[in-house]
């Protein structure tokens, strides 16, 4: 699903590379935690996967495409198979729960009949049935993140990228979101989640990839947060 071959990223304004010589492979259907301190290169890694940045060196394959050879006008279509969830939810405040999810399908040109069928299903999956007409500011943080997950999942992505999805949530609510991501993973969707949340990583016992100063320092199956090699 994702393959990094000796990937480095050096930002023009910085001396130290944000990512240096990272090689790894993530298979279809995996659930991977991406951990590391702030500035360790997690965000750069995710931005490279989304092709929001180009690597300075190395090759990246995502969802069957060599990103270096993916022309600009093809990016939007390619991105439709990737769902994204962020720490700050990124919902549209003037749209209802239903409209927020429908928006993601409308802007990629899905017909209304499809939207009417799909949206209620995803909202039920994330446990928001009955709250379709609420506005984001009428929801709790956990519920808002569920809307964001529903939006990311609405188009049946093969890959879900979650950048600290529980960063703004309390532990109990976080567990609910993790259960949701786990359930999505079980449908066959590959999930990469960047996180600082030690409890969650320890509890889930999934593959852990750790970055430190831009270097890959750990890649461990069924890992925990604090392990040092």
């Amino acid at each position: 699903m994702i393959r990094f071959e000796e990937v480095s990223k050096l930002y023009a304004t910085q001396q130290r590379p944000a990512l240096s010589d990272v090689s790894l492979e993530i298979e279809r259907g995996e659930f991977v935690f991406l951990i590391g301190q702030s500035g360790s290169g997690k965000s750069t890694f995710l931005r490279l996967v989304l092709k929001e940045e180009k690597p300075s060196n190395g090759r990246i394959h995502v969802a069957g495409k060599d990103l270096g050879r993916l022309s600009n006008w093809k990016i939007p279509h390619w991105r439709r198979q990737i769902g994204t969830v962020f720490q700050d939810f990124r919902l549209l405040p003037n749209k209802t729960v239903y409209q927020n999810v429908a928006f993601a399908l409308e802007v990629i040109g899905k017909p209304r009949s499809v939207i009417r069928r799909v949206v209620p299903g995803v909202l039920e999956l994330v446990g928001l049935e009955g709250k379709e007409d609420r506005l984001p500011n009428e929801l709790s943080g956990g519920e808002q993140q569920r809307v964001a997950v529903a939006r990311a999942f609405a188009n049946q992505p093969v890959l879900l990228i979650a950048d600290e999805p529980t960063g703004n949530l309390d532990p109990a609510t976080s567990v609910g979101i993790m259960k949701l991501l786990d359930r999505i993973n079980r449908t066959g969707t590959t999930v990469i989640m960047a996180t600082h949340d030690q409890g969650i990583v320890d509890q889930m016992r999934k593959r852990v990839i750790e970055l430190e100063y831009g270097e890959l320092v750990r890649d461990q199956d069924r890992g925990v947060y604090g392990y040092r090699h």
Partner: protein, 303 residues
């Protein structure tokens, strides 16, 4: 393509930036009004040229007994010289000369008496003082110099005159008016383009949340930019519509009610010129807005 969705987005966008939208519409309207007036003046000038050039003629004045005004005159024109000119004029038909007629001294006298009827000059005129002339209508009045060159300075020819020069000051004034309107239109168009660019920048910024999500879920660039471009198009179209209205006012009030009543000697442009000007304004205004929007958006909305 979800048309209703796109229309909804345009409405939201135009309302959200209402003051900027109004500024864009007004500046587009003003610039295109000036542009439209320049086009109308040009049409008027062309019309007048067609009208007048069809009427005016080139006069070849021949020498008379007391012709001292021209170097080529050595006493009055001889019958041979007169006949030579006539033959040459006939040779120039029909490529250069459309038609010609001869005006003798008696006819010249009669015309002069009519012309000077309120003046005492008429009392002193005698036919012998006046010059015989060939009055020549050209096939293409603009080629006056080439025709005049063949007769000017010939034995027996006192002077060759082009009546066009009487109209010259008039055309100069109209030309200046047209250039002035065009110049101001260019300046205002420049202002309008800058305003459109700025409006799009503000619009892109105020909708960065939406466009950010659209980008993430894989909406195409075209789909992301379309509402902005259509917003630009709608604003440009409204501005151009107002300018077209001003052009219609210029025709009904300016020309039909004032100019045409006070200056009956020349014809004025009709509705066909006004309508073609309106089309030009509508197409040009809309295209300009869309292009200005597109160029700005390429900078502010990227993949």
């Amino acid at each position: 393509m979800r048309i209703r969705f796109v229309m909804q987005e345009i409405g939201i966008g135009l309302r959200r930036n209402l003051t900027m939208t109004v500024a864009v519409i007004v500046s587009v309207a003003v610039s295109l009004t000036l542009f439209g007036l320049a086009l109308l003046i040009r049409a008027q000038v062309n019309q007048m040229k067609d009208y007048w050039f069809d009427k005016i003629e080139v006069s070849i004045f021949l020498c008379n007994d007391n012709s001292a005004q021209s170097l080529s005159c050595d006493g009055a024109v001889t019958p041979d010289q007169r006949a030579a000119i006539r033959d040459d004029l006939n040779k120039l038909k029909p490529d250069w000369v459309k038609e010609w007629y001869f005006e003798n001294q008696q006819q010249a006298y009669e015309n002069a008496v009519v012309y000077f009827k309120d003046s005492s000059i008429a009392d002193f005129l005698v036919p012998e003082q006046l010059q015989e002339s060939y009055r020549v209508k050209l096939t293409d009045p603009r080629r006056y110099l080439e025709v005049a060159g063949q007769f000017d300075g010939r034995p027996g020819v006192a002077a060759v005159e082009d009546q066009r020069k009487i109209l010259k000051p008039f055309f100069t004034v109209l030309g200046t008016l047209r250039n002035g309107a065009l110049g101001m239109a260019v300046v205002m168009l420049f202002v309008a383009v800058l305003l459109i660019g700025n409006t799009m920048r503000v619009a892109a910024f105020s909708r960065r949340r939406e466009t950010g999500i659209m980008r993430l879920v894989g909406a195409s660039n075209f789909y992301i930019q379309l509402p902005f471009l259509l917003e630009g198009a709608v604003a440009g179209l409204i501005g151009a519509g107002l300018a077209s209205f001003m052009v219609v006012l210029a025709k009904t009030v300016g020309i039909d009610q004032h100019l045409a009543r006070n200056f009956t000697l020349t014809p004025f442009i009709g509705w066909d010129a006004v309508i073609s000007t309106m089309w030009t304004l509508l197409i040009f205004g809309t295209t300009m807005s869309v292009v200005a929007s597109f160029v700005t958006l390429r900078k502010y909305l990227r993949v």
